[in-house]
Assembly symmetry: D2
Homo-oligomer: 254 residues x 4
């Protein structure tokens, strides 16, 4: 069970809605993933501009919680404005604060992310903050009252997986709200690893939408997240330098 604000989810996977080749594939991938939360870029929608695509074409959005993000914002003010658009369109169960500070890496701006989170919390939003894996920044975001922190595994869309499991472990160890690993997941092993490290959930998009077979990959991610969750609960063996026989054979002879 994953609790964010007043909401409770059985699924630990948040799925993005960008870059699918067609609406039908997206629909099937979303269903295969068993996600309960859909995320999308407000600026990329046809909320007020009908020339933009409808990311939910063919989908019954009433079955999902919606997590719009503020992608495209470079300042707190732009992020707040974007969030309010989503709310006005009645498409905002919670908001993902995403204030990009670097065009090449799409990594977030720590100062503007903090400011945007504070302002949106003051406005009553349920706020999830996309952040780098800076351990102290993740804590400062929690001190503003955010409902979840979303550290990146690696930059958006790179598929590089968890570059720094050390920082992620410290963020998780110190967290008082859910930690959703967001961005950089490339394959099922990455999703499993994040959950094994103790994350509470995963947000991903490109790893599924850009896969050869998005529907199959969506199911793979669903299973990987369950595997990692169970693995964390079960408690893995310690790593050792020298080998250890599965069946010690000392003193035996045939």
């Amino acid at each position: 069970m994953l609790n964010i604000g007043s909401m409770t989810f059985n699924s630990h996977l948040f799925l993005g809605t960008g870059k699918y080749k067609d609406a039908k594939t997206q629909l099937q991938a979303v269903e295969a993933s068993e996600t309960e939360v859909l995320t999308f870029a407000v600026r990329r929608m046809n909320l007020f501009d009908s020339s933009q695509p409808d990311p939910f074409e063919q989908m019954d959005v009433s079955k999902y919680r919606l997590l719009p993000n503020t992608a495209g914002a470079k300042t707190a003010e732009e992020a707040v404005r974007t969030a309010k658009l989503a709310e006005a369109a009645n498409m905002c169960d919670m908001i993902k604060v995403e204030v990009i500070g670097c065009d090449k890496t799409l990594l977030p701006d720590p100062v503007e992310t903090l400011r945007a989170s504070e302002q949106l919390l003051n406005e009553g939003f349920t706020v999830l903050a996309y952040t780098s894996d800076d351990v102290v920044l993740a804590r400062k975001l929690q001190e503003t009252g955010v409902h979840a922190v979303m550290p990146g595994a690696s930059p958006i869309g790179t598929g590089l997986g968890i570059i720094n499991p050390y920082n992620l472990s410290h963020i998780i160890e110190q967290a008082k709200v859910p930690v959703i690993v967001d961005a950089g997941i490339g394959s099922p092993k990455d999703a499993s690893y994040a959950m094994e490290l103790g994350a509470d959930g995963i947000l991903l998009n490109t790893a599924v939408s850009g896969a050869g077979d998005p529907v199959k990959m969506a199911e793979a991610m669903k299973l990987a997240i369950r595997a990692g969750t169970l693995g964390a609960e079960a408690g893995r063996i310690d790593k050792k330098f020298y080998a250890q026989a599965s069946s010690p054979l000392g003193g035996l002879s045939i």
Copy 2:
């Protein structure tokens, strides 16, 4: 589907039977794993010495294919003798050739492994050869006619996971028989990763029997293997150095 010799399996997980804390936990872990193949050290059994433990206590072995291993053998001759014991006891659907060449790492002896494989094939056994991740050795084992090669991810019982995905990839790329990654798996992400690289199956023991909750970890491994299998079939995204937006925002404004 995994085909080895004349046998066909739905499960891609082979599970060891050593080092569980009690028979009931082992039984439940085996069931949770949905494995169809049980592996065990012949020398560690009570085949002919009733003071040795019965690894299958409480279990209905008729429901499984049995894969005894020759652990304890340091030469081809010892391995052959051990295999024949298993066959005489009618507990040998296929044999895992395991000839250890180093007491500290429990890594296999390449020359004796090759010799043992040849001899057991001549005797009509279905042979699976435990090997290091030496790319050429894996091919030479296949040239002897083994029914599967079992390269280690890392040394037995270390839980270090896949140290050298490069060698594993080349073994898989060149393989003409199933590749079962055997030894060193520490957590679900490792099992998923092996399958994503194209392995045909996983053999593990300590990662489950030594986990805090072996039954839960057995289920985690089952799911991870399915996740990795689907991930390989789906085709993962390429890795990139620069970030790629999920929802490109070029030319948009609010």
Copy 3:
């Protein structure tokens, strides 16, 4: 050549002065390192409290540029006060802003580091800012006018080396001032690697003072930094998935 503010250095190594077993070992290690810059914690000195140790005992400090740090500060104000103490003692050629935000990881506080840097720049200090490897934060620090950024390879004293070469590469690629990799260096290979990635210098302490033979390790670090510097200038070969013969043998026969 390394230029920071109005100073120019031949050496690319800044060496800390903490935790040596005795003053003589420290003196010899400093000399073996050929560093031109010594760094020390202002709060740990006997500037105004003679019960504190003198980190420069036996050393002719006039031969070095001094880089005091503000370790112990948890806010910008504390950092500024600490810097002024160093200046008042005439022991401050440049100041390393170090505002720790986490007692377990000793990772820096991004917001207070930014504020402290701004204030000290306004006071006319030559400012080097210790920071996490957050790519955007490193840029924001440069926008305040700092004379160098000092991203950590990994947390202070851990010896984990460069956990995230990706972020470090992006910081270096985008930098307009020198990048000094600070903290986490464990062995010579780490120092060489940082320079190969394009860093302008290395600050380290524990890797030398905590080594079995600090004097020998100081020399090793000096050589590793030269090796890495030359390596970066020379331009390394690309990495390849398939092998490439050193001496292609196509078409030859004996």
Copy 4:
């Protein structure tokens, strides 16, 4: 000091002579490296076929020990024949047994390498065996009497560096003759790392000949090997999960 057979070397670097853009660059790179041992493919030389290049053009070979290799051989017999050619040409202070078993990875054939080593030792050669990083194979080669083992860091010419430091550590820990890490070195950090792990020397070619500036890279490798050697002698700090202050500040206040 590095002792192989009856020879003693101050340098721990063996340098290949393939693929330089011109003879002058090669000469300068060799001098900058301060190597005392040159290695070359016998089959690629103009020993008996004047249409082949002379790898030592412009060089005074009398200043070096020569380590021809048997590249191009796929069987022990071919390797022996190649070695004898080098000896007949009086260009063989020691022979590098190189029997390739895979065209894509250029990884060695373990069985033929063992056989070739035995035969050449019987003929009185000083034998250095190029091998994979298979721990048991490295020991078996030593049991035949080889004068050094040469495990690969990664496949020839890939520049992937040390993929499996675990196996390399075990080979070094168990070795009774010098361990020369051969193949796969990409940059100075890799050379330093190998020496830090306890290797006795490095053989490389492409990392220098294929660098943007081979002469500068040759010097970088020389320094990196010294850095790594000193680092191993000095004894590095342990790795830690939590940070450790360089200058503990407990109980202090300003």
